[in-house]
Amino acid sequence: MKYYGLIDSGGRTIDPGGDSWVNVPLWLCHEFPFDEGVRIEDWDSRTLVFVDRRGPLRDFPDSALGNHIMSAKLQEVISAVAPDTLQFLPIRMLSSIGDEVATGYALSNYLIWCDAVDRKRSVPGEGRKRVVKDEDGDYDLDKLVLDPKKIIAPIFRVNGVDDVFVYREDVVERIQQIGATGIAFEAIES
């Protein structure tokens, strides 16, 4: 089985500058345990985000790094193929004057983390001899290789590599089959 990393906004090359941008207040994400792999219980479903309408609003619209906003269509397919891997927190997509731009979108909370780094085959960052976590618990890698034996879910985040969001091949195929827009993946060796 192959695995893919979801290409976050920072690495996006789809219609650069042409998509709508969703502005999620930064502190909002810090108020909730988005990086802990736990369900968020006290989310207010009235929570609003602003959509800066620079262009088409995609199923996976551009936003700041780590803010994975998904349309109802994307949520539906992920819930079917990879249940209980993401929690979808409803948001209201508003224009700057308060008009509702779209419905059904949600902010994603990744529920599964795996310590899936293959320490033998991954390549350490420059100046490092071995693949080991630093004092903050993070890996410094030039190349990430996943150890399939350590993978426990079809969608997960990787302990020590916070900016990687891994999707199993069958999930990626289903997402591509429904023609979801704005979402892209790159293969990760495993």
Binding site: N23, T47, L48, F50, D52, S96, I97, G98
Partner: protein, 182 residues
């Protein structure tokens, strides 16, 4: 005695943010001219928690400073320095849409000058603005007799007269960093 000062929000440990929803392209590329198509229904979200009443509030996400002014501060500026700042009213709300605070307005400084001495002003630049400023701004003697102007690079600069007014009227939420001038 410096004649010009960079305006900054007074540094506090308080975690208080205001995020603009504005799509107005003017905010991304201010020109020092009046905004003619402003919609007073514009929203901004504040948090975390309750709104902290301040006379001067910095906002995001635009790269160039667009501060919010309290009703009291707006009135003082209009009284002492009329026609120097255009106030663009907006509605402040919590992320869940409740707790509306009214009366605050973005300040659009109506003079823009290209008078920053880039050779004498040290810092890290990106797309014509500062990421990190090391030391003070150095200005090439601006030909200016008003109270406030915006540098082409985005920073808002105040005259000594504006600083005096702020201090005399007791507006405490902003600091004045002296600029060097040639």
């Amino acid at each position: 005695m410096p004649s010009y000062f960079e305006i900054k929000k007074r540094s506090t440990r308080e975690r208080a943010f205001v995020v603009l929803g504005c799509e107005n392209q003017y905010l991304a590329h201010p020109k020092g001219t009046p905004v003619t198509d402003w919609d007073a229904r514009q929203l901004a979200v504040y948090g975390p928690g309750e709104f902290h009443e301040r006379d001067y509030v910095e906002t995001s996400p635009h790269s160039r400073p667009f501060p919010l002014f309290s009703p009291r501060f707006q009135a003082a500026i209009e009284q002492w320095f009329p026609r120097e700042v255009q106030f663009l009213p907006l509605r402040l709300i919590k992320p869940n849409g409740t707790g509306e605070v009214s009366g605050y307005a973005l300040g659009n400084v109506l003079t823009m000058l290209d008078c920053l001495d880039r050779e004498q002003t040290h810092g890290t630049w990106y797309n014509g603005r500062f990421i990190t400023l090391l030391g003070s701004l150095t200005l090439k003697s601006p030909d200016f007799s008003g109270a406030l102007f915006r540098l082409k690079e985005g920073t808002i600069i105040a005259s000594a007269a504006f600083k005096s007014m702020v201090e005399e009227q007791g507006f405490a939420d902003l600091d004045f960093v002296p600029c060097n001038s040639e």
